[in-house]
């Protein structure tokens, strides 16, 4: 029996598209623990945010499962990040390019998951390009160059199964290299 589950973890800031990405490749729709955003002020806001995890899986021919977990995006749930990556195969980091400071987010997540990434691997997906870009692909690449890290980094549409497959293929190549 495997003590560690065979799982790939999707992380990144709120709105990067983690839930969609998992849904784009999984065999069943993801289970989410989404709740409404609150302000504590007058109006309730419609948006939802993941507070514990998203979960789904890919079923392989021989019956084995690869579990797909999405972490909550907000920093105060970082205890979930460490619970979810424990024993995992690798990390998919999605960063939405329309975030007010996408490069800072890239740095933040790479730092937060550094130990796990060094043991396994990471692939970075830049989502939501072409609407309100706050950085360029080159900015992201330069960030990695400055960090001295050569990680796969691709522009992706978080809802496209073809694009998410590119991410996962790269992650597999990194894990097994």
């Amino acid at each position: 029996m495997n003590l560690h589950s065979d799982k790939i973890i999707f992380t990144g800031p709120v709105g990067a598209g983690k839930t969609s990405a998992i849904g784009a490749v999984s065999d069943v729709p993801p289970v989410s623990t989404d709740v409404n955003f609150s302000t504590g002020q007058e109006c309730q806001i419609k948006d939802v945010t993941t507070v514990a995890m998203d979960y789904s899986y890919i079923q392989l021919d021989d019956g084995a499962k690869v579990h797909l977990f999405g972490t909550p995006g907000q920093q105060r749930f970082d205890f979930m990040w460490h619970i979810l990556v424990e024993g995992g195969l690798g990390l998919v980091l999605l960063v939405n390019i329309d975030h007010p400071s996408p490069i800072a987010e890239l740095n933040r997540y790479l730092d937060a998951f550094q130990d796990f990434i060094e043991k396994t691997g990471v692939v970075i997906g830049i989502t939501r390009t072409g609407v309100n870009d706050q950085a360029t692909l080159e900015d992201f690449q330069n960030c990695l160059l400055q960090r001295g890290q050569v990680y796969p980094i691709f522009e992706v549409d978080g809802r496209s199964s073809e694009d998410i497959k590119v991410l996962l293929n790269a992650l597999l190549a990194v894990i097994t290299s």
């Binding site: 495997n2 065979d6 490749v25 890919i58 392989l60 021919d61 021989d62 084995a64 690869v66 195969l89 396994t120 692909l137 690449q141 990695l144 160059l145 050569v150 990680y151 796969p152 980094i153 691709f154 522009e155 992706v156 073809e162 694009d163 497959k165 590119v166 991410l167 996962l168 293929n169 790269a170 597999l172 190549a173 990194v174 894990i175 097994t176 290299s177």
Partner: protein, 330 residues
Amino acid sequence: MDIPRRLKISAIGLFDTELKVLQVAQAMLEHEEINSELIENNHEESAIVVLDYDSESGKQVFATMRESQVKLVFSSAQPINIKNTITLPKPIRVHTLKEILTQICRQLYDYIDKYEHNQTQASSSAQSGAAGKTQNIFLHLFDAKNNATILKLTHSSGANIYVNGQDKTLYVAGDSNILDAFIAAAAADINAQVLTADAFQQQVRGLSPLALDGELWRSGISCSQGQLLPGHQADVPVKLRSWPNFSRQGFKPEFFKVAAQMAKRAESLEALSRLTQVQLDVIIDFYNAAFALGLIESHQPQAAQPAQTRELSSQRKSLLGKLAQRLRMA
């Protein structure tokens, strides 16, 4: 624009004070080893045109000038944001003007050097072979980017592509099938002709620019056919400094393994082929295209180090193999 070695600077619509300042500044250029002369009211033949935008004549002439001409504008108002136009706010000081003129002239000299070099290259290759170098589209594009040249590439069917190695753009006269035709074409079916910047601008009028890097990548992975870029060797350690943007630029399935290995440590292409079990031809396709995009760094030969693969249980390896099958791109 014909740029002779002696740089002509013309003054349009300058008031007395500014004209005197310009005369003094221009005379000082000699100390910067810049050969120039000041001419009045003949902007057609000038390398640099100095205009006073506050004067009627300055404004009028400015409006008629080509984008490619270098314009130094004296103005009391806002800077003018047009290509090749520098705005100096009044009052104009001799020293400031001299410094700016020096910078402009030096850049013009660099441009002249490159232009003359390209002309020489174009004429010597026209003499040496059938209308220029006989090579596939990838190598033409690579040369254009490397040498910052401006080219017109013609296919034997009559289709044309315009390549600007200076601002790294590419223009197609027609639809994208034309690019495919060039990629599939034999080297002998492609003719290359060097163009001046002005001729280029005229011929691409109305066409939309594409990024040169995108076509470099596409042609690199398709046209290399096992041939390394000239001067490159398969036994020299190389390393990937940045992954290509596979999701948008295209890839072959083996590229993931190759890139992952190349990103880890410096290896020769031959060693990579052994490590990844990928054919050397395919690795060369990847290498050429990645090199053309500036994604490869060369390394000095290192003492052989044992290749370290991550330790995975056989169970996990088998699972990952099956997952890879499942995720295989169509």
